[in-house]
Symmetry: C2
Subunit: 224 residues, 2 copies
DNA sequence: CGGAATCGAGAACGAGCGTTCTCGCGTCCG
DNA sequence: CGGACGCGAGAACGCTCGTTCTCGATTCCG
């Protein structure tokens, strides 16, 4: 169907579908051969090892997600709508039949402590998304676009995990409404920086430190 | 050292440390035998298969996280402080040297589509945490404690993922500040339900629907 | 003391996987 | 026409892993 129907593309498409649905370690090269119709010999000519194929899979996902995000955001001009468009895109993706969580979070959890290339690809993707969010946050005139972008990034990842586990798109809505509240709060703080809306003990600027208690979870953790 | 030093406990402790740090599929039973000092024969007497050991590991993590959360929250009486204590606990955990993300998200991503027991354990844990959050949200007098609890759950999971990937405890702070904003917003909405603080087009109650665009991500997705 | 049960260490077994090699078969250039 | 090359299908190899079996050694109870 596609004009770009090279061997590399066919292998990558099959690997993407299988890796994303079943996980990397559960999918063998023979399954990729069966799904792509490309012999093992040619697969290993394009990708010298399974690890290289995994990294190419992640880079492909990164390109896809970034362009999809940018296209979806480009439909809006209002800064708030542009931010919320991210979460609308998330909803549509999460609501689709073949959503299985964030491929990068999954790959990191599965192979994190053992594959340098995977760690790099995951970090690159997440930091690219956050950079993109930072630009959107800056457009809204938020007082601290970096902080707001980090919060939005937390919402994005959390919504993907929650949606995958609960098998429901509702977390995308929860994240969207939370994002809207954060946007309004940042805008309110930018309009009236002298005082926040509520809270009897509130430093006017900056984000206060967490009160680090004496507990050390590692000592009582099961992993200790 | 521990009084409860049964064979089962020693096996579970070793399995917990290894599964959590390296992932389930990357750890073989021989490594658990070496780490626990319990022979394979006795391990298989306690746990009839590796899958059973994995499920016991997840249940143990569930008990640990729930009791740690409850203890930490019990130190506070103010409803807002009780909610924020959850994120302070998260910060301490995430900041520890042996934090490797959420064991349940990791296990689900790794084994999700293939192990019924794992899926059940993960869903039980996540729904238990959300029930706990719902109780805290109810105490704050929020208009929609269910919705607020879902938002907090998204923040929790997102902060764990972000912290694990970025290898930094900062996402816990981002989540905490976002949680505080959401709390204040919910309280404001409860105090003055007629009108929200900002936004020219705002339904006063309920959470609006996302504008589902004509795009279908599955068609342009790499997995399609 | 004696036999029976238990135990730990490790071999064994079967399966799966990543990667490479073999072997026919078709194809293309001289 | 002919030989060298490329190709796909699949076997083969080496490794790992989950699970079970073997085999001495130890221990426990009558």
């Amino acid at each position: 169907m596609n004009v770009d129907d090279t061997i590399e593309t066919r292998v990558l498409s099959a690997a993407d579908a299988l890796f994303y649905q079943y996980g990397v370690q559960s999918v063998g090269m023979d399954r990729i051969r069966d799904a792509s119709g490309v012999s093992l010999k040619k697969i290993y000519q394009c990708f010298p090892s399974k690890g290289a194929l995994v990294e190419a899979y992640l880079r492909r996902r990164d390109r896809w997600a970034r362009t999809a995000l940018e296209e979806r955001v480009a439909d809006h001009t209002d800064p708030e709508s542009r931010v919320l468009a991210v979460f609308d895109w998330l909803y549509d993706w999460v609501d689709g039949p073949d959503f299985h969580g964030c491929a990068f979070i999954n790959a990191f959890g599965e192979l994190g402590a053992g594959s340098q290339g995977v760690v790099e690809a995951v970090r690159e993707h997440k930091s690219a998304v956050r950079t993109f969010l930072r630009g959107l946050a800056f457009e809204t005139g938020a007082t601290d676009p970096d902080w707001l972008a980090s919060q939005l990034s937390v919402l994005l990842d959390g919504a993907m995990s929650n949606a995958s586990i609960s098998d429901s798109p509702a977390p995308a809505r929860h994240a969207r409404s939370a994002a809207r509240t954060l946007l309004h709060d940042a805008a309110v703080a930018a309009d009236a920086p002298a005082e926040s809306a509520a809270g009897p003990e509130e430093p006017p600027a900056g984000h206060e430190e967490p009160a680090a208690g004496p507990r050390e979870p590692a000592s009582t953790a099961p992993g200790g």
